[in-house]
């Protein structure tokens, strides 16, 4: 069974994001990178391949600029990549994006697991994985922090979910859609060999027509505004030892009536 990883590009987390008066969002000339959460999904896919999955396809709905995120995933070790790119998706909301991704997943043979990051660092809705699961009619396991057992032949997976209240162990038949949290693994760097192979890889583009896709976005961004900035004073507590620094911090917190 194959694994599909869904990804997209987001502004580098170090970028300074600005919202202008007309509500447009910009991040200067900061580079677009693979959504950081998705790196954990890619890493988990690579580990699941070692545990018996037959291959990994990485999938993104986006435009030409999205290719770098796909190449990054290829350089980490994914086998092939597909870009879903269509003018009708330009202003897409998560419902439409997830519909496109689900349709693309259906075009890939023998998919056992769809992996996504928990959320994106730009849109930040966290809805896409759940919606993909709904379109496909598969179980969706969100906030997965560990794959405890997987049996591709028997079509079964057991995972641990990291919830606010604690940890939950759940079992599901395959295929499933999974979203991962960053506790799940430590993503590897792309390898040099991977970078070279990714540089040469052909990334096919699937259009809405290829996917038999129609629909328009239901959600529009009415207005975007930057959060109110607060003036915060930062004070560094230094000491020769960790213990001493902790003591000073505690004293300070008590003195300032924080605790």
């Amino acid at each position: 069974m194959r694994i599909v990883v869904c990804t997209k590009e987001t502004p580098d987390t170090a970028a300074k994001v600005e919202v202008s008066a007309d509500g447009s969002v910009s991040w200067g000339d900061a580079p677009l990178v693979i959504n950081p959460w998705d790196e954990y999904a890619v890493e988990e896919a690579l580990q699941l391949k070692d545990r018996g999955a037959s291959g990994i396809t990485v999938l993104a709905a986006g435009t030409e600029v999205t290719r770098d995120a796909l190449r990054h995933a290829l350089a980490m070790g994914c086998d092939d990549a597909v870009l879903v790119d269509d003018p009708t998706l330009e202003q897409a909301d998560t419902l439409l994006v997830s519909k496109a991704l689900a349709a693309a997943v259906r075009k890939v043979d023998d998919v056992g697991i769809v992996l996504c990051g928990r959320t994106t660092t730009d849109g930040g809705s966290g809805l896409t994985p759940v919606q993909i699961g709904r379109w496909l009619g598969w179980s969706t396991l969100t906030y997965v922090s560990r794959v405890l057992a997987v049996d591709f032949a028997a079509g079964k997976i057991t995972v641990e979910r990291l919830l606010e209240e604690g940890r939950q162990v759940v079992e599901s038949p395959l295929p499933v859609v999974i979203s991962v949290v960053k506790e799940i693994n430590e993503p590897r760097y792309p390898s040099f060999m991977g970078i070279r192979k990714a540089g040469k890889a052909e990334i096919p583009v699937w259009s809405a027509a290829d996917l038999g896709l129609e629909g328009v976005a239901q959600v529009q961004w009415g207005a975007v505004s930057a959060p109110v900035t607060r003036d915060v004073q930062c004070e560094m507590i230094t000491a020769v030892s960790v213990e001493e620094a902790a003591d000073r911090l505690a004293e300070k917190l008590i003195a300032d009536k924080v605790v």
Binding site: Y189, P190, I195, R196
Partner: protein, 402 residues
């Protein structure tokens, strides 16, 4: 003319930046203070393929070009000079020299394990009595049948206690003119008669290994001779063409480090009611640093491009190394100045940058030697003749075929 880096070059640099930032940066200050090399550094650089970055895949390398080698050095020295020193000796001075001058057997014996990071390599030219004046070194090699017997001492050798293999130069013909009587050899640290040690109390590169190699009646197989008898000086000088390139590219990273730390500090430190970044004298320092960075980088990229094309680049590489290292010292001095008293303490990184910068204007040709070389080129007193073995031009096909 195209100034753009290709995607592969950019991604390789990005990968090395992440490695250095996440795995080295958090603890490097502590290793520097201890004057020890972290035991993880060499194995990790080997594992990730950094130690074989620009060597052909069929010799165990990663198949990237010489420009990428420079970019990798810049990223490494952005974090600490000792990381780049590894590339200078392991790749620049030793591995690329074997690629250039070695026989197919020598490539199999040395280049492959070095490219794979299974064996580390160093370079031994300098002796206690001879540095700049390398043609007059004293170490000797005497041929006896199928072996050479080596005697002598090499000093200030990077990775002296870490490397498995060393490219060393010794005198085979005491009667020939000094530079014509030298021969290059590969020796291994486990050969009988080879002893090594580290030097402590260095001003900089404290998180790295710099030491000595003593050779006492070391029997070296004739098959380990690199180049012909009498070609040792040429071999060593062409090794320096590559080593200096890595030093220059690394120093470029050090200038960047100084600039980035200074910009961050200048925005945050306030005097007279404003961030110091608003004082024109501070701005002038930052302006110069950014000019030095771009100039150093362009000079290094030109040298890397020439290597890719297979063009002789002794003059251009010397210029890049001289300019980048001299200006990395200047940038580090300014960075400390911008940090005020905090720059004078090891609480901030710039004092380490300053100590590290000073080595590179001494090794691989002191700044004075480069100045003399450039003057000699300008005066028409120096030209570079063709070598029997030139560094092969980068060829994607040849480099990346498995």
């Amino acid at each position: 003319m195209d100034f753009a880096l290709n995607e592969e070059q950019q991604q390789a640099a990005e990968m090395v930046r992440r490695f250095a930032q996440t795995e080295i940066e958090p603890t490097i200050g502590e290793w520097d203070r201890r004057q020890e090399m972290s035991p993880d550094v060499l194995p990790r650089m080997g594992e990730l393929g950094i130690l074989g970055i620009c060597l052909p895949v069929r010799y165990g390398g990663q198949g990237f070009d010489y420009v990428t080698l420079g970019l990798v050095c810049e990223e490494l020295e952005r974090v600490d000079t000792t990381l780049r020193v590894i590339m200078s000796v392991h790749m620049g001075l030793c591995s690329l020299t074997i690629l250039q001058w070695g026989t197919e057997e020598q490539k199999k014996r040395f280049l492959i394990p070095q490219a794979q990071g299974k064996e580390y390599a160093g370079f031994g030219l300098t002796e206690p009595g001879h540095g700049s004046d390398a043609a007059n070194i004293r170490a000797t090699a005497r041929r006896e049948g199928d072996t050479y017997i080596l005697n002598g001492e090499k000093m200030w050798i990077s990775l002296a206690t870490k490397a498995h293999n060393f490219l060393v130069v010794a005198r085979t013909d005491p009667n020939a003119k000094p530079s014509a009587g030298l021969t290059a050899f590969m020796i291994t640290s486990d050969m009988k008669g080879v002893t090594t040690g580290d030097i402590h109390g260095k001003l900089g590169v404290r998180a790295g290994s710099t030491g000595w190699i003593a050779m006492q009646d070391v029997e070296v197989p004739a098959a380990y001779r690199i180049g012909e008898e009498g070609e040792g000086f040429k071999v060593a000088m062409s090794a320096l063409d590559n080593g200096r390139y890595t030093v220059g590219a690394g120093a470029t990273g050090l200038i960047r480090a100084c600039l980035e730390e200074s910009v961050a500090y200048a925005k945050q430190r306030e005097t007279f009611g404003v961030p110091i970044a608003q004082h024109q004298l501070i701005q002038q320092k930052l302006g110069y640093m950014s000019l030095w960075y771009d100039t150093a980088r362009l000079l290094c990229l030109r040298a890397g491009w020439m290597k890719n094309q297979g063009l002789r680049n002794t003059r251009e590489t010397s210029q890049a190394k001289w300019y980048a290292t001299d200006h990395s010292v200047m940038a580090a001095l300014e960075a400390v100045q911008i940090h005020g008293a905090y720059g004078f303490s090891d609480e901030y990184k710039v004092e380490r940058y300053l100590r590290n910068s000073k080595g590179a204007v001494i090794y691989e040709g002191t700044s004075e030697i480069h100045q003399l070389m450039q003057a000699a080129y300008a005066l028409g007193e120096r030209t570079d003749g063709k070598l029997r073995c030139e560094l092969p031009a980068y060829d994607t096909e040849a480099w990346q075929t498995e």
